[in-house]
Amino acid sequence: MAWFKRHTGGQTTVVFEQPHAKQVANQLRALRTTLIQNHPRARTIQVTSPNIREGKTFVAANLAVAFARIGQQTLIVDANFGAPTIHQIFTGAPSGGLVEALNNHNRNQPVATQYENLDMMPILTAQDSMGDQLAQPRFKQLLVSWSQQYDRVIIDSAALLNEPDAQIISTLVDATLLTLRVGRTKKQPVEDAQALLRVAQAQNLGWLAID
């Protein structure tokens, strides 16, 4: 039963380097293929979920690695200001992160990670919601710049219903991918999240169900 599966707590697993996680890795490859075939123009993809602890960081991190493994220049951006974790999953030597980049610090560029073809733009320390900064032209400029430099930009953002950040980002990216956990996510937040994206006129790729 899903109740007894404990997947949270601890370092997010990058399944492509786990021999015992081949099945999950293949499922992520299938997701990658679906996105390439059905949404070839979606270069900037946001990964979010209705509430916290519903697998968005796991999916964002592993999807980014999946794209990098087929030779696509990929950037993973941590836009979860309240609980940033991308810098814990991927090793690199960032001098700054997204917060500094939003504040017009031109020195803050994405940094390479331990995976070939994969760079990251982390958040080094937790912040309050930066919805105001995200809504300003600076973030859109960053997105445009990144989409020119990289084949794929994967954005790990905050929960859609908790902060306005994800909704704001959804209006700026090419597509948004939603995650939910079967047996854990409640129905009403799922409906609310879908409605929120519809109101924002965002491109909704659909749901990734984690069982």
């Binding site: 997010t12 697998g55 796991f58 079967v182 659909g206 749901w207 984690i210």
Partner: protein, 217 residues
């Protein structure tokens, strides 16, 4: 969790589950009680200590008689006869534990009560131990001050759980279980299930990830 809906609404939404739970609980508890909980029997016999010729009352010796009736001097023959006549399988200790003696303060009467699962056995225990006490007591206590005990009436009583109590308890238990299960079902239904995703056409599920316990999100 249940703040937005009253308990009554929750139960009404799951009335079939609640009803089935109530019925099954009542039936099971009553069957269990009828089949597994057996009645027991008790037999009482009253003994009266007679007064001695020199005016001393025998009330002083009541406690002694109460102790004597539980000694092997009285119980050993009773046990032997029970084994022979009724196939009694209990030990001497079991026999001793099945006998209780009670008396009112200042009274010359004390009651011997035997308890067990077989009415004939408990009646025999009460009667025979009282008879042996009468026989043996006069030899152990000062014979010049003790007169034979007079034996009163014998009665056998059947004890079992009051069926109305059982029914009431089972109904209350069933209602409690029904409420708890309804709440649990309501909470479970609030969450997304596989079936819900299959039926919800407006939710476009592009992929499903099946994780095992080794994966950390």
């Amino acid at each position: 969790m249940i703040k937005s809906r009253s308990l009554f609404q929750i139960i009404r939404a799951h009335k079939l589950l609640a009803t089935v739970t109530l019925v099954i609980t009542v039936v099971l508890m009553n069957v269990f009680t009828m089949v597994l909980v057996k009645p027991y029997y008790s037999s009482e016999i009253d003994l009266i200590a007679t007064q001695s010729k020199n005016g001393d009352t025998a009330t002083k010796n009541i406690q002694t008689y109460q102790d004597l009736i539980k000694t092997p001097l009285v119980l050993a023959p009773v046990h032997r006869e029970l084994v022979q006549k009724y196939g009694y399988q209990g030990s001497m200790t079991d026999l001793k534990n099945s006998i209780d003696t009670t008396t009112e303060e200042g009274s010359r009467v004390f009651t011997v009560t035997a308890k067990g699962e077989r009415p004939l056995v408990v009646r025999y225990i009460a009667n025979r131990s009282a008879t042996l006490l009468e026989t043996e007591a006069s030899e152990l206590v000062n014979p010049s001050n003790v007169r034979p005990l007079k034996i009163g009436k014998t009665a056998v009583h059947r004890h079992q759980l009051n069926p109305w109590i059982v029914v009431t308890l089972s109904v209350l238990t069933g209602m409690l279980l029904a409420v708890l299960l309804s709440i649990w079902r309501d909470i479970s239904n609030a969450k997304v299930s596989r079936q819900y995703l299959d039926e919800a056409d407006h939710l476009h599920v592009i992929e499903t990830l099946k994780l095992d316990d080794t994966i950390t999100l």
